[in-house]
Symmetry: C2
Protein backbone atom coordinates (compact mmCIF):
# COMPACT_ATOMS: atom_id res chain seq x y z
CA UNK A 1 0.00 0.00 0.00
CA UNK A 2 1.48 3.29 -1.11
CA UNK A 3 1.68 6.31 1.17
CA UNK A 4 0.52 8.71 -1.53
CA UNK A 5 -3.11 9.46 -0.60
CA UNK A 6 -3.97 10.37 -4.15
CA UNK A 7 -2.88 7.07 -5.52
CA UNK A 8 -5.67 4.53 -5.81
CA UNK A 9 -4.79 0.95 -5.25
CA UNK A 10 -6.69 -1.90 -6.82
CA UNK A 11 -6.65 -5.23 -5.06
CA UNK A 12 -7.66 -8.43 -6.82
CA UNK A 13 -9.94 -10.77 -4.95
CA UNK A 14 -11.31 -10.78 -1.48
CA UNK A 15 -8.37 -12.51 0.03
CA UNK A 16 -5.99 -9.83 -1.11
CA UNK A 17 -8.48 -7.20 0.04
CA UNK A 18 -8.61 -8.65 3.48
CA UNK A 19 -4.87 -9.10 3.73
CA UNK A 20 -3.86 -5.69 2.52
CA UNK A 21 -6.80 -3.49 3.47
CA UNK A 22 -8.32 -5.37 6.38
CA UNK A 23 -6.64 -3.06 8.84
CA UNK A 24 -8.35 -0.11 7.15
CA UNK A 25 -11.74 -1.64 7.78
CA UNK A 26 -10.80 -2.34 11.35
CA UNK A 27 -9.61 1.22 11.81
CA UNK A 28 -13.13 2.63 11.71
CA UNK A 29 -13.66 4.87 14.69
CA UNK A 30 -16.69 6.90 13.91
CA UNK A 31 -18.61 5.55 11.00
CA UNK A 32 -18.68 2.43 8.88
CA UNK A 33 -20.78 2.60 5.78
CA UNK A 34 -21.51 -0.14 3.34
CA UNK A 35 -23.63 -0.26 0.20
CA UNK A 36 -24.11 -3.34 -1.90
CA UNK A 37 -26.57 -5.03 -4.21
CA UNK A 38 -26.27 -8.24 -2.31
CA UNK A 39 -24.51 -9.72 0.65
CA UNK A 40 -22.14 -11.88 -1.35
CA UNK A 41 -19.70 -9.19 -2.34
CA UNK A 42 -18.55 -8.46 1.14
CA UNK A 43 -18.55 -11.88 2.57
CA UNK A 44 -14.92 -11.68 3.72
CA UNK A 45 -14.84 -14.64 6.06
CA UNK A 46 -13.56 -13.81 9.48
CA UNK A 47 -13.42 -10.11 8.93
CA UNK A 48 -16.94 -9.43 10.11
CA UNK A 49 -16.29 -10.94 13.47
CA UNK A 50 -13.20 -8.83 13.90
CA UNK A 51 -15.12 -5.69 12.98
CA UNK A 52 -17.82 -6.62 15.43
CA UNK A 53 -15.18 -7.18 18.07
CA UNK A 54 -13.49 -3.90 17.28
CA UNK A 55 -16.68 -2.01 17.96
CA UNK A 56 -16.39 -2.68 21.62
CA UNK A 57 -13.21 -0.67 21.78
CA UNK A 58 -14.50 2.48 20.17
CA UNK A 59 -15.09 5.29 22.59
CA UNK A 60 -17.86 7.02 20.61
CA UNK A 61 -20.13 4.25 19.43
CA UNK A 62 -19.51 3.32 15.85
CA UNK A 63 -22.27 4.25 13.47
CA UNK A 64 -22.86 1.40 11.06
CA UNK A 65 -24.97 2.00 7.98
CA UNK A 66 -25.79 -0.65 5.47
CA UNK A 67 -27.65 -0.04 2.27
CA UNK A 68 -28.90 -2.86 0.10
CA UNK A 69 -31.10 -3.63 -2.83
CA UNK A 70 -34.38 -5.47 -2.20
CA UNK A 71 -33.06 -8.76 -3.51
CA UNK A 72 -31.09 -9.29 -0.33
CA UNK A 73 -34.46 -10.14 1.16
CA UNK A 74 -34.98 -12.95 -1.30
CA UNK A 75 -33.11 -15.65 0.48
CA UNK A 76 -33.59 -16.57 4.02
CA UNK A 77 -29.97 -16.64 5.08
CA UNK A 78 -29.50 -13.05 4.04
CA UNK A 79 -32.61 -12.01 5.90
CA UNK A 80 -31.37 -13.72 8.99
CA UNK A 81 -28.01 -12.04 8.68
CA UNK A 82 -29.56 -8.63 8.16
CA UNK A 83 -31.81 -9.06 11.15
CA UNK A 84 -28.82 -9.98 13.24
CA UNK A 85 -26.79 -7.05 12.02
CA UNK A 86 -29.69 -4.71 12.68
CA UNK A 87 -30.12 -6.17 16.14
CA UNK A 88 -26.51 -5.32 16.89
CA UNK A 89 -27.28 -1.68 16.27
CA UNK A 90 -26.49 -1.20 12.61
CA UNK A 91 -28.83 0.91 10.56
CA UNK A 92 -30.05 -1.07 7.59
CA UNK A 93 -31.93 0.45 4.70
CA UNK A 94 -33.26 -0.83 1.45
CA UNK A 95 -32.87 1.10 -1.76
CA UNK A 96 -35.11 0.27 -4.69
CA UNK A 97 -32.98 1.97 -7.29
CA UNK A 98 -30.06 -0.15 -8.42
CA UNK A 99 -26.96 0.45 -6.42
CA UNK A 100 -24.16 1.49 -8.77
CA UNK A 101 -21.22 -0.32 -7.28
CA UNK A 102 -20.54 -2.01 -4.06
CA UNK A 103 -19.05 0.54 -1.76
CA UNK A 104 -17.46 0.81 1.65
CA UNK A 105 -16.76 4.07 3.41
CA UNK A 106 -14.70 4.29 6.58
CA UNK A 107 -14.96 7.41 8.70
CA UNK A 108 -15.33 9.51 5.58
CA UNK A 109 -11.62 8.98 5.02
CA UNK A 110 -11.39 5.86 2.94
CA UNK A 111 -13.55 4.47 0.20
CA UNK A 112 -13.34 0.97 -1.16
CA UNK A 113 -15.15 0.46 -4.42
CA UNK A 114 -15.76 -2.93 -5.91
CA UNK A 115 -15.34 -3.35 -9.63
CA UNK A 116 -16.63 -6.04 -11.94
CA UNK A 117 -15.41 -9.60 -11.96
CA UNK A 118 -12.32 -10.03 -14.10
CA UNK A 119 -11.45 -13.62 -14.75
CA UNK A 120 -13.60 -14.72 -11.84
CA UNK A 121 -11.88 -12.33 -9.48
CA UNK A 122 -13.40 -9.08 -8.31
CA UNK A 123 -11.24 -5.99 -8.12
CA UNK A 124 -11.40 -3.63 -5.14
CA UNK A 125 -10.10 -0.11 -5.46
CA UNK A 126 -9.02 1.60 -2.30
CA UNK A 127 -9.40 5.36 -2.51
CA UNK A 128 -8.05 7.91 -0.04
CA UNK A 129 -8.20 11.16 -2.02
CA UNK A 130 -10.33 13.40 0.22
CA UNK A 131 -12.29 14.94 -2.62
CA UNK A 132 -13.12 11.61 -4.16
CA UNK A 133 -14.08 10.08 -0.87
CA UNK A 134 -16.24 13.07 -0.05
CA UNK A 135 -18.12 12.91 -3.30
CA UNK A 136 -18.63 9.18 -2.96
CA UNK A 137 -19.87 9.91 0.51
CA UNK A 138 -22.39 12.47 -0.63
CA UNK A 139 -23.63 10.15 -3.35
CA UNK A 140 -24.09 7.50 -0.74
CA UNK A 141 -25.91 9.89 1.51
CA UNK A 142 -28.32 10.81 -1.25
CA UNK A 143 -29.13 7.17 -1.84
CA UNK A 144 -29.33 6.57 1.90
CA UNK A 145 -31.79 9.37 2.45
CA UNK A 146 -33.98 8.13 -0.35
CA UNK A 147 -33.94 4.58 1.00
CA UNK A 148 -36.30 3.16 3.57
CA UNK A 149 -35.60 1.56 6.90
CA UNK A 150 -35.43 -2.24 6.73
CA UNK A 151 -38.31 -2.79 9.13
CA UNK A 152 -40.45 -0.23 7.36
CA UNK A 153 -39.60 -1.71 3.99
CA UNK A 154 -40.51 -5.18 5.07
CA UNK A 155 -43.77 -3.95 6.49
CA UNK A 156 -44.83 -2.21 3.32
CA UNK A 157 -43.32 -4.44 0.65
CA UNK A 158 -44.75 -7.90 0.91
CA UNK A 159 -42.82 -10.47 -1.07
CA UNK A 160 -44.14 -10.98 -4.56
CA UNK A 161 -45.86 -14.33 -4.80
CA UNK A 162 -46.41 -16.34 -7.91
CA UNK A 163 -49.80 -17.62 -8.95
CA UNK A 164 -49.17 -20.99 -7.41
CA UNK A 165 -47.93 -19.66 -4.12
CA UNK A 166 -51.08 -17.65 -3.80
CA UNK A 167 -53.18 -20.71 -4.43
CA UNK A 168 -51.24 -22.59 -1.78
CA UNK A 169 -51.86 -19.68 0.55
CA UNK A 170 -55.56 -19.89 -0.21
CA UNK A 171 -55.60 -23.58 0.65
CA UNK A 172 -53.84 -22.94 3.91
CA UNK A 173 -56.16 -20.08 4.68
CA UNK A 174 -59.16 -22.27 4.04
CA UNK A 175 -57.91 -24.65 6.69
CA UNK A 176 -57.52 -27.60 4.35
CA UNK A 177 -55.33 -30.49 5.31
CA UNK A 178 -52.27 -30.87 3.15
CA UNK A 179 -53.59 -33.95 1.46
CA UNK A 180 -56.84 -32.32 0.37
CA UNK A 181 -55.09 -29.15 -0.67
CA UNK A 182 -52.54 -31.02 -2.75
CA UNK A 183 -55.30 -32.97 -4.46
CA UNK A 184 -57.21 -29.81 -5.21
CA UNK A 185 -54.17 -28.14 -6.69
CA UNK A 186 -53.18 -31.23 -8.62
CA UNK A 187 -49.88 -31.52 -6.82
CA UNK A 188 -48.29 -34.39 -5.03
CA UNK A 189 -48.25 -34.19 -1.27
CA UNK A 190 -44.50 -33.83 -1.40
CA UNK A 191 -44.55 -30.89 -3.77
CA UNK A 192 -47.36 -29.17 -1.96
CA UNK A 193 -45.38 -29.33 1.23
CA UNK A 194 -42.36 -28.05 -0.59
CA UNK A 195 -44.42 -25.04 -1.57
CA UNK A 196 -45.61 -24.54 1.95
CA UNK A 197 -42.05 -24.71 3.22
CA UNK A 198 -40.95 -22.16 0.63
CA UNK A 199 -43.80 -19.92 1.60
CA UNK A 200 -42.87 -20.14 5.24
CA UNK A 201 -39.27 -19.30 4.50
CA UNK A 202 -40.46 -16.36 2.47
CA UNK A 203 -42.64 -15.18 5.31
CA UNK A 204 -39.92 -15.77 7.86
CA UNK A 205 -42.27 -17.95 9.83
CA UNK A 206 -41.24 -20.73 12.16
CA UNK A 207 -44.68 -22.22 12.35
CA UNK A 208 -47.80 -22.30 10.27
CA UNK A 209 -49.55 -20.14 12.81
CA UNK A 210 -46.92 -17.49 12.40
CA UNK A 211 -47.13 -17.79 8.65
CA UNK A 212 -50.85 -17.17 8.82
CA UNK A 213 -50.28 -14.16 11.01
CA UNK A 214 -47.79 -12.66 8.60
CA UNK A 215 -49.80 -13.51 5.54
CA UNK A 216 -52.67 -11.47 6.88
CA UNK A 217 -50.35 -8.81 8.15
CA UNK A 218 -48.86 -8.35 4.71
CA UNK A 219 -52.26 -8.41 3.10
CA UNK A 220 -51.49 -11.47 1.04
CA UNK A 221 -54.95 -12.91 1.53
CA UNK A 222 -58.21 -12.10 -0.09
Amino acid sequence: MTVDPDRNVTLRGERELVERAGHLLLSAEREFVCAAGDLKTWSMPGLRARIAGARHRTAPPLTVRKLFNPQVLDDEESRRHLAEVAARGAQVRICTTGLPHETILVDGRIAILAGPLVGGVRGYTVVRSPDVVRSVGSLFLAAWDAATELAEFRRTHPPVLGQESRRVLAMLGAGHKDEAAARELGLSLRTYRRRVAELMKLLDAGSRFEAGLRARELGLTG
Copy 2:
Protein backbone atom coordinates in the same frame (compact mmCIF):
# COMPACT_ATOMS: atom_id res chain seq x y z
CA MET B 1 -106.20 -25.94 17.85
CA THR B 2 -109.17 -23.67 18.16
CA VAL B 3 -110.56 -21.70 15.25
CA ASP B 4 -111.04 -18.55 17.31
CA PRO B 5 -108.19 -16.27 16.22
CA ASP B 6 -108.32 -14.33 19.42
CA ARG B 7 -107.80 -17.32 21.57
CA ASN B 8 -104.19 -17.98 22.46
CA VAL B 9 -103.10 -21.55 22.79
CA THR B 10 -100.25 -22.61 24.98
CA LEU B 11 -98.44 -25.81 24.11
CA ARG B 12 -96.23 -27.59 26.60
CA GLY B 13 -92.88 -28.78 25.35
CA GLU B 14 -91.29 -28.85 21.97
CA ARG B 15 -92.81 -32.12 20.96
CA GLU B 16 -96.31 -30.83 21.44
CA LEU B 17 -95.34 -27.65 19.66
CA VAL B 18 -94.10 -29.56 16.65
CA GLU B 19 -97.08 -31.86 16.59
CA ARG B 20 -99.77 -29.25 16.92
CA ALA B 21 -98.19 -26.15 15.43
CA GLY B 22 -95.64 -27.60 13.05
CA HIS B 23 -97.94 -27.05 10.12
CA LEU B 24 -98.09 -23.35 10.99
CA LEU B 25 -94.37 -23.06 10.73
CA LEU B 26 -94.41 -24.91 7.44
CA SER B 27 -97.12 -22.64 6.13
CA ALA B 28 -94.79 -19.67 5.83
CA GLU B 29 -95.10 -18.18 2.39
CA ARG B 30 -93.58 -14.77 2.60
CA GLU B 31 -91.59 -14.30 5.74
CA PHE B 32 -90.26 -16.40 8.55
CA VAL B 33 -88.86 -14.50 11.48
CA CYS B 34 -87.15 -15.88 14.51
CA ALA B 35 -85.62 -14.21 17.54
CA ALA B 36 -83.93 -16.06 20.34
CA GLY B 37 -81.25 -15.68 22.93
CA ASP B 38 -79.71 -18.95 21.94
CA LEU B 39 -80.17 -21.75 19.46
CA LYS B 40 -81.36 -24.30 21.96
CA THR B 41 -84.92 -23.07 22.30
CA TRP B 42 -85.88 -23.79 18.74
CA SER B 43 -84.03 -26.99 18.23
CA MET B 44 -87.12 -28.91 17.10
CA PRO B 45 -85.47 -31.93 15.56
CA GLY B 46 -86.59 -32.66 12.07
CA LEU B 47 -88.61 -29.51 11.69
CA ARG B 48 -85.78 -27.44 10.34
CA ALA B 49 -85.20 -29.77 7.47
CA ARG B 50 -88.87 -29.67 6.59
CA ILE B 51 -88.87 -25.88 6.67
CA ALA B 52 -85.82 -25.83 4.47
CA GLY B 53 -87.50 -28.21 2.10
CA ALA B 54 -90.71 -26.18 2.07
CA ARG B 55 -88.82 -23.14 0.92
CA HIS B 56 -88.31 -24.63 -2.48
CA ARG B 57 -92.01 -24.60 -3.10
CA THR B 58 -92.64 -20.96 -2.31
CA ALA B 59 -93.21 -18.85 -5.38
CA PRO B 60 -91.90 -15.58 -3.94
CA PRO B 61 -88.71 -16.49 -2.16
CA LEU B 62 -89.19 -16.78 1.56
CA THR B 63 -87.52 -14.10 3.60
CA VAL B 64 -85.89 -15.63 6.62
CA ARG B 65 -84.70 -13.40 9.41
CA LYS B 66 -82.99 -14.60 12.49
CA LEU B 67 -82.03 -12.46 15.42
CA PHE B 68 -79.80 -13.69 18.21
CA ASN B 69 -77.83 -12.57 21.18
CA PRO B 70 -74.04 -12.57 20.95
CA GLN B 71 -73.69 -15.68 23.09
CA VAL B 72 -74.78 -17.86 20.20
CA LEU B 73 -71.29 -17.21 18.89
CA ASP B 74 -69.74 -18.70 21.98
CA ASP B 75 -69.85 -22.31 21.00
CA GLU B 76 -68.59 -23.67 17.80
CA GLU B 77 -71.55 -25.78 16.84
CA SER B 78 -73.86 -22.78 16.96
CA ARG B 79 -71.46 -20.77 14.83
CA ARG B 80 -71.35 -23.50 12.27
CA HIS B 81 -75.10 -23.74 12.21
CA LEU B 82 -75.50 -20.00 11.83
CA ALA B 83 -72.99 -19.90 9.02
CA GLU B 84 -74.92 -22.65 7.27
CA VAL B 85 -78.24 -20.93 7.75
CA ALA B 86 -76.79 -17.68 6.47
CA ALA B 87 -75.32 -19.46 3.48
CA ARG B 88 -78.78 -20.73 2.60
CA GLY B 89 -79.96 -17.18 2.29
CA ALA B 90 -81.29 -16.36 5.71
CA GLN B 91 -80.54 -12.95 7.13
CA VAL B 92 -78.87 -13.30 10.47
CA ARG B 93 -78.30 -10.44 12.84
CA ILE B 94 -76.87 -10.11 16.29
CA CYS B 95 -78.50 -7.97 18.93
CA THR B 96 -76.47 -6.86 21.92
CA THR B 97 -79.46 -5.92 24.03
CA GLY B 98 -81.07 -8.90 25.72
CA LEU B 99 -83.84 -10.43 23.71
CA PRO B 100 -87.02 -10.43 25.77
CA HIS B 101 -88.51 -13.75 24.84
CA GLU B 102 -87.93 -16.27 22.16
CA THR B 103 -90.21 -15.43 19.32
CA ILE B 104 -91.31 -16.75 15.97
CA LEU B 105 -93.33 -14.79 13.46
CA VAL B 106 -94.86 -16.33 10.37
CA ASP B 107 -95.92 -14.05 7.53
CA GLY B 108 -97.01 -11.41 10.03
CA ARG B 109 -100.01 -13.63 10.77
CA ILE B 110 -98.89 -15.88 13.54
CA ALA B 111 -96.64 -15.36 16.51
CA ILE B 112 -95.26 -18.08 18.69
CA LEU B 113 -93.84 -16.87 21.96
CA ALA B 114 -91.82 -19.07 24.25
CA GLY B 115 -92.39 -18.81 27.97
CA PRO B 116 -90.25 -19.89 30.87
CA LEU B 117 -89.56 -23.47 31.79
CA VAL B 118 -92.26 -24.93 33.97
CA GLY B 119 -91.34 -28.21 35.52
CA GLY B 120 -88.60 -28.70 32.97
CA VAL B 121 -90.96 -28.10 30.09
CA ARG B 122 -91.13 -24.88 28.15
CA GLY B 123 -94.48 -23.45 27.19
CA TYR B 124 -95.15 -22.05 23.74
CA THR B 125 -98.01 -19.70 23.17
CA VAL B 126 -99.45 -19.50 19.71
CA VAL B 127 -100.98 -16.13 18.98
CA ARG B 128 -103.12 -15.22 15.99
CA SER B 129 -104.80 -11.99 17.09
CA PRO B 130 -103.81 -9.55 14.35
CA ASP B 131 -103.20 -6.63 16.70
CA VAL B 132 -101.03 -8.65 19.00
CA VAL B 133 -99.06 -10.18 16.19
CA ARG B 134 -98.58 -6.76 14.62
CA SER B 135 -97.24 -5.23 17.77
CA VAL B 136 -94.93 -8.16 18.36
CA GLY B 137 -93.82 -7.69 14.79
CA SER B 138 -93.04 -4.04 15.23
CA LEU B 139 -91.14 -4.75 18.41
CA PHE B 140 -89.14 -7.31 16.53
CA LEU B 141 -88.49 -4.88 13.73
CA ALA B 142 -87.16 -2.29 16.14
CA ALA B 143 -84.73 -4.80 17.58
CA TRP B 144 -83.86 -6.02 14.09
CA ASP B 145 -83.04 -2.57 12.83
CA ALA B 146 -80.84 -1.89 15.81
CA ALA B 147 -78.99 -5.17 15.38
CA THR B 148 -75.98 -5.75 13.20
CA GLU B 149 -75.43 -8.18 10.38
CA LEU B 150 -73.74 -11.39 11.49
CA ALA B 151 -70.73 -10.97 9.23
CA GLU B 152 -70.32 -7.36 10.26
CA PHE B 153 -70.67 -8.25 13.91
CA ARG B 154 -68.07 -10.95 13.69
CA ARG B 155 -65.71 -8.61 11.93
CA THR B 156 -65.97 -5.90 14.53
CA HIS B 157 -66.45 -7.93 17.69
CA PRO B 158 -63.48 -10.18 18.18
CA PRO B 159 -64.04 -12.78 20.87
CA VAL B 160 -62.93 -11.61 24.28
CA LEU B 161 -59.83 -13.45 25.32
CA GLY B 162 -58.62 -14.00 28.82
CA GLN B 163 -55.15 -13.10 29.95
CA GLU B 164 -53.93 -16.62 29.48
CA SER B 165 -55.37 -17.04 26.01
CA ARG B 166 -53.58 -13.91 24.93
CA ARG B 167 -50.33 -15.25 26.26
CA VAL B 168 -50.87 -18.49 24.40
CA LEU B 169 -51.54 -16.43 21.29
CA ALA B 170 -48.30 -14.58 21.83
CA MET B 171 -46.40 -17.85 22.07
CA LEU B 172 -47.97 -19.09 18.86
CA GLY B 173 -47.27 -15.81 17.16
CA ALA B 174 -43.65 -15.96 18.21
CA GLY B 175 -43.34 -19.27 16.42
CA HIS B 176 -42.46 -21.24 19.53
CA LYS B 177 -42.89 -24.97 19.59
CA ASP B 178 -45.55 -26.21 21.95
CA GLU B 179 -43.06 -27.63 24.36
CA ALA B 180 -41.12 -24.39 24.72
CA ALA B 181 -44.27 -22.33 24.93
CA ALA B 182 -45.76 -24.56 27.62
CA ARG B 183 -42.56 -24.34 29.64
CA GLU B 184 -42.50 -20.58 29.34
CA LEU B 185 -46.09 -20.27 30.48
CA GLY B 186 -45.63 -22.76 33.27
CA LEU B 187 -48.20 -25.12 31.84
CA SER B 188 -48.02 -28.77 31.05
CA LEU B 189 -47.84 -29.68 27.41
CA ARG B 190 -51.29 -31.17 27.66
CA THR B 191 -52.87 -28.06 29.07
CA TYR B 192 -51.09 -25.77 26.67
CA ARG B 193 -52.48 -27.76 23.79
CA ARG B 194 -55.88 -27.67 25.37
CA ARG B 195 -55.61 -23.90 25.33
CA VAL B 196 -54.53 -23.88 21.72
CA ALA B 197 -57.44 -26.12 20.81
CA GLU B 198 -59.87 -23.83 22.63
CA LEU B 199 -58.38 -20.84 20.90
CA MET B 200 -58.79 -22.48 17.53
CA LYS B 201 -62.40 -23.34 18.22
CA LEU B 202 -62.95 -19.76 19.29
CA LEU B 203 -61.38 -18.50 16.10
CA ASP B 204 -63.25 -21.01 13.99
CA ALA B 205 -59.99 -22.24 12.59
CA GLY B 206 -59.37 -25.70 11.23
CA SER B 207 -55.63 -25.31 11.22
CA ARG B 208 -53.03 -23.29 13.02
CA PHE B 209 -52.38 -21.35 9.85
CA GLU B 210 -55.98 -20.32 9.69
CA ALA B 211 -55.93 -19.42 13.34
CA GLY B 212 -52.98 -17.13 12.74
CA LEU B 213 -54.78 -15.54 9.84
CA ARG B 214 -57.84 -14.83 11.91
CA ALA B 215 -55.93 -13.70 14.94
CA ARG B 216 -54.31 -10.99 12.90
CA GLU B 217 -57.53 -10.26 11.10
CA LEU B 218 -59.30 -9.63 14.37
CA GLY B 219 -56.44 -7.60 15.69
CA LEU B 220 -55.79 -9.96 18.56
CA THR B 221 -52.04 -9.64 18.25
CA GLY B 222 -49.67 -6.97 19.47
